[in-house]
Symmetry: D2
Subunit: 188 residues, 4 copies
């Protein structure tokens, strides 16, 4: 990431769960937002990032951090429909707002995923109170580093030195991570 | 379980994955069979029993143990279709034969699940070389006990004292276990 | 803890390991200090708090956080000598400075332990740049909360709401925690 | 291991804990014996093999398996005395008989360790009802394989194919394993 913070693009969501009204990042300006990109059939999401998100929710329950799930389906589209997602959220006790990233047919990757240049699932984007992207990660970070980073987002930015980089390359799922085709990065 | 071993009922499967031809327990007589009942949206299956089944496959790779997965959908039927199951098996690297337990409309629980009287997912049934049910469990057993039990099935039966009983009661998923409605037990 | 931060007492150490010169909290004023109280035969220290301290060291390696281990022996004194501690630090790859809390015969609990009012092992004390005690804990906190708290100590204090309280009461070791006799609390 | 089962050598123990009378393998003939070689400052023993031994004890509590701990100190001798061992056994809730492997000054490695040709800690030796060595391992085996092997020892031998080999080579502790100097292997 560059030292100049980039302003976050907006979400493009076709259907929301766990919220009475659609969310926009613009309307959330002023609060830190943790955006969690996942697919319900992604092993690393189910086994690692979703449990971590739920631990984060518990620790920061009394802060104004907004956690948002984003179902960014870029493969097995027929297998991960909204019907299946609804049951998944129920069974995994996911209670924070979750949006289905909008598919537009221009790419296997959905619109928000392309806007943020997400490389695959799980990914997370930490957005500051001013709407800038503080940190963006493909993979799952150490809990200590994640806690530190969010604490700083609640007050001020943390240096990026603590980032643990995922080692997965290429397309498809391996070691629990699901990498999107490269086209999803360039078709923003 | 009674001391008199009961003979295993037959499988009723509507679709098979990871096998060129349908399997029957009758045709497998002579080999020990580990039947693993799961649902793809069951947290205890994804997080605990499927990883254990995969460890079992590795340790007993050079024996004649036959592992069979059985997708016993008794809730969220529209969410766990064969299309989603196919992608699930791919993403979770499940390579042993998996059958979709046949739904007949007589109950939310499918036919094989009712025949065996399975209480929910994950469940496992260990069937001896003679076709008798050696052990049947709702939940996940300690790895040491599972290894011991299968080793004995490869030669002779083990006493049941090592069983770890699940504590979940009632219908629905809790602590990773998904309990079937009671009707599925009585509608055999 | 009260809202008025208390100033940290000083260390009383009879022998240092992993440092060329003795450390004092006074001399460390200006840097945040994480003081980790342990006993080498305490299961919760070996299994939980020491691994967490080592994860903390990795994540905050590029900051000015000072981690200090304090061997606070309050039981089995003949079993946990400096000779055994030296071998323990070697085998567990502990490289940060570790001091042996000074025993003075006035209590089973050593001097620094009494000064801080530590209830048992593992305990941790987070000391701010200004020398005040920001947080003191008997037990092990969630990694996310620990990371958040240290990040704030590197800049500003965190509310105490994220604390996970240990449930152990009384004297002796249970659930991995070793509680000191009550007298060690009152004999400060 | 050769296909010809070797008969187990006898224990040489200088001090026993958790038993009213000294044990000998000769007197235990007829029962399967699981001999667990450890050092109290060995990270892989404390973190992996001892917890596994305790799981084994629970699963096979109602069988005639005899578990015996053997404190095979081959380094840091002054740090791992009988006084420290006694406190260690207390804190880690180890209740099965534990013998201190007898040191004779002929080698850093103690006598029983040399008799069995143990390569380091943790090691385990599974001895059959007839006194033969069924399996000997430096490191920690998968729980499923361990359970299977012990179940077979309670009745009949298992093929050795399931063994998970440790990758540590050389002397000293790494990845939790502590390898003895090579001399301990040749000085039997």
């Amino acid at each position: 990431m560059s030292t100049t913070m980039s302003s976050s693009p907006e979400l493009a969501v076709s259907e929301w769960f766990n919220t009475a009204a659609p969310l926009t990042l613009a309307a959330l300006r002023g609060r830190p937002v943790l955006l969690h990109s996942f697919q319900l059939l992604c092993p690393g999401c189910v086994g690692q990032s979703i449990p971590q998100i739920q631990r984060i929710e518990r620790v920061f329950a009394h802060t104004d951090l907004q956690v948002i799930g984003l179902h960014t389906v870029f493969e097995h589209h027929a297998a991960m429909t909204a019907v299946t997602l609804r049951a998944f959220l129920h069974e995994y006790r996911i209670t924070h707002p979750v949006g289905v990233d909008r598919a537009d047919g221009a790419s296997d990757a959905p619109v928000t995923m392309r806007r943020f240049g997400l490389r695959g699932t799980p990914s997370s984007v930490l957005i500051g109170r001013d709407g800038s992207i503080l940190h963006q990660l493909f993979g799952v970070e150490d809990d200590i580093a994640a806690g530190a980073r969010i604490a700083m987002a609640l007050s001020a930015p943390l240096p990026h030195s603590a980032t643990i980089h995922p080692t997965t390359n290429g397309h498809g799922c391996a070691d629990g991570l699901c990498a999107a085709p490269t086209s999803s990065k360039t078709s923003i």
